[in-house]
């Protein structure tokens, strides 16, 4: 089940990945081969089998919703590529 160039472009857009055209071609071939391999799952009848999302799902262990000491804004901003006035700085969201 080979992927089309349009599908590869669509996936890359969904995943916010800028790819060169050479990368698009390479990933199209490689992902098509991987999808061919995983397609063998289709032959199993699982109509009566429940899905497993996590081994111990349904068993959540939430802690009490109480304030506790956390990291300071300074510590959190230390790794920011750009910051201003104690906040992360980003380019415009709207044109």
């Amino acid at each position: 089940m080979p992927l089309t160039p349009q599908e590869v472009e669509h996936i890359a857009r969904l995943a916010r990945l800028e790819l060169t055209s050479a990368e698009q071609t390479r990933y199209r071939e490689q992902l098509s081969a991987i999808l061919d391999h995983v397609a063998q799952l289709q032959k199993l009848d699982t109509s009566r089998i429940p899905p497993t999302a996590s081994v111990f799902s349904g068993d959540s262990h939430l802690r009490a919703d109480q304030p506790r000491p956390g990291l300071t804004p300074e510590a959190l901003l230390k790794n920011a590529p750009e910051q201003e006035k104690g906040q992360f700085k980003i380019p415009p969201v709207f044109e």
Partner: protein, 514 residues
């Protein structure tokens, strides 16, 4: 111990003469010598750091070494050691059983103040402001972290070839891979750079490098230990594991870091495991039932691997174990299930790397442009591939056929194990179909690389613990690893079986010449 004494005349001895011996000590041997005051933590840490300086140019197991910090901590540890000795309480039974022991940490776990790259350019220069819970627990037990070890980018790979900072070389043959993704940690341990190290295992990333490097490595039960401070890859699969020279060493480390953590809601509410293994000559395996699953002895497996595994099973039978043939019928589907579920989870987890809060930013005209460019340029090939695969498997129109179906088949794989653990106490099989392969052997063929994981993926999908340890060498002198898998939260059984085997054999004591 063969009665070797260290530091007889501390003031006059030359440390360089001690180093080969100090770096060949196992963790438990070091514990004993530290207890007796025959070596100091400073000597041990210095020896490890010198060994790293001498050998890591060749091996590239480390991405970061914290020499000064480690030496300062070693001096503090020596003070505490002498206080503890004064109380008469054995250090192994104190609240700091690993006091003064140097360790290395895979670079996907955070240690405050040490760079954490995850083997990726997208986290280049990132210095985390907090320490992972498992590392905090080890430090509280007295461990000295000497550095961070190499990994496939975001733990995605089976060879460390996907590290953006270069491959780690296998100490048994530097032309070969150490396995992956925790290849740096496994190589560091077998080369004697550290007595023990942490790794992580999402689809075999502790067990397979343990096998390729000839060390002992545990992947605990899912939910057994905290992932707070572990950079997430596949959240329903990720486990923190450990490497050492023997089951006894790994059990000591595992006992110190496992347990429930309020900061990780997936850690399970079970008592923390504290496993100590005796030094008795040969522990009997009488009464223990070990299953041999036929699906793990397939065509394509290297004959020497099968031979060594069968010989080890026979040895376990001689030690009193009852051997039974068992079946895990859905084993062949583990690979396709894993390569849908793990990339799907990765595509969500790696969405956070966008050039906004940490890591480098590739500039662009708009915020969206920054996302596309930063991610496109800074993620490596395998990570990009898995993000794309996962995005596709989760996208509208394909979700049910791919991700949904994979989750259902995962249920079948999990049931296989539930069934088999009614019949036996542990399952024994190879870790991988082959011994360590040559660097570059899989070229640009991702599927061929994925097939390396065929025997390790099922344990992650079922959430059961797995232990890898050496059971011999092939004709090229490369280690062969056996995998034991057990019931949920029954790591103790795996350690017990491996320990009994190691008491009766010496494969785990073999060291490469470097």
């Amino acid at each position: 111990m063969s009665g070797v004494k260290f530091g007889l005349k501390r003031d006059t001895c030359h440390l360089t003469q001690l180093m080969p011996s100090l770096t060949s000590l196992s963790l438990t041997e070091s514990q004993t010598l530290l207890q007796r005051g025959e070596i100091s933590s400073r000597e041990l840490v210095t020896a490890c750091l010198e060994h790293v300086s001498a050998l890591d140019g060749q091996l590239h197991a480390f991405l970061y070494v914290a020499a000064e910090q480690a030496l300062a901590q070693a001096e503090a540890a020596d003070k505490k050691l002498s206080e503890l000795r004064g109380t008469g309480l054995p250090i192994s039974q104190s609240t700091m059983p690993l006091l003064g022991i140097p360790m290395a940490i895979k670079d996907v776990l955070t240690v405050e103040g040490m760079p954490c790259t995850c083997g990726s350019k997208i986290l280049e220069g990132y210095v985390p402001p907090f320490t992972a819970t498992v590392v905090q627990k080890l430090q509280a037990a007295g461990v000295i972290v000497i550095g961070k070890t190499n990994t496939d980018e975001f733990a995605m790979g089976s060879s460390t070839e996907n590290s953006a900072y270069g491959v780690t070389h296998n100490p048994w043959d530097v032309a070969r891979v150490p396995g992956g993704s925790s290849g740096g940690s496994a190589a560091a341990v077998v080369a004697g750079l550290v007595p023990a190290a942490l790794g992580t295992d999402t689809g075999g990333s502790v067990r397979q490098p343990a096998s390729f490097c000839g060390v002992t490595g545990i992947k605990p039960t899912y939910g057994r230990s905290s992932r707070y401070g572990l950079v997430a890859y596949g959240s329903s699969l990720d486990c923190v594991g450990a490497f050492g020279h023997s089951a006894a060493d790994v059990a000591a480390v595992f006992s110190a870091y496992n347990g429930r953590d309020p900061l990780d809601a997936t850690t399970q509410d079970v008592p923390a495991a504290n496993i100590t293994l005796g030094t008795e000559a040969v522990s009997s395996l009488k009464g223990i039932r070990i299953g041999v699953p036929k699906e793990y002895f397939i065509a394509g497996i290297q004959p020497e691997v099968e031979g060594k595994i069968r010989a080890a099973i026979q040895k376990m039978e001689e030690l009193g174990a009852e051997i039974r043939q068992v079946s895990l019928p859905h084993t062949e589907y583990a690979l396709p299930v894993y390569y849908l579920i793990a990339p799907a989870e990765a595509s969500a987890n790696l969405a956070r790397f966008d050039g906004v809060r940490y890591g480098p930013r590739v500039s662009g005209d708009s915020m969206w442009d920054v996302f596309y460019k930063t991610r496109g340029e800074k993620f490596g090939d395998e990570v990009t591939r898995r993000i794309m695969l996962g995005t596709y498997a989760l996208s509208a129109g394909y979700y049910d056929a791919f991700y949904g179906q994979a989750q259902k088949v995962r249920t079948l794989i999990k049931r296989d194990f539930e069934q088999v653990f009614h019949e036996v106490d542990a399952v024994a099989c190879p870790v991988a179909p082959t011994t360590a392969f040559k660097i570059g052997a899989h070229g640009d063929d991702p599927l061929a690389m994925y097939l390396e994981d065929v025997f390790t993926l099922p344990a992650n999908l079922a959430g059961v613990p797995g232990l890898a340890f050496p059971v011999g060498f092939d004709a090229a002198g490369l280690p062969v690893g056996m995998q034991l898998m057990g019931r949920h939260f029954d790591e103790a059984m795996l350690f017990r079986v491996a320990h009994a085997y190691q008491q009766a054999t010496d494969w785990h004591k073999q060291k490469p010449t470097l």
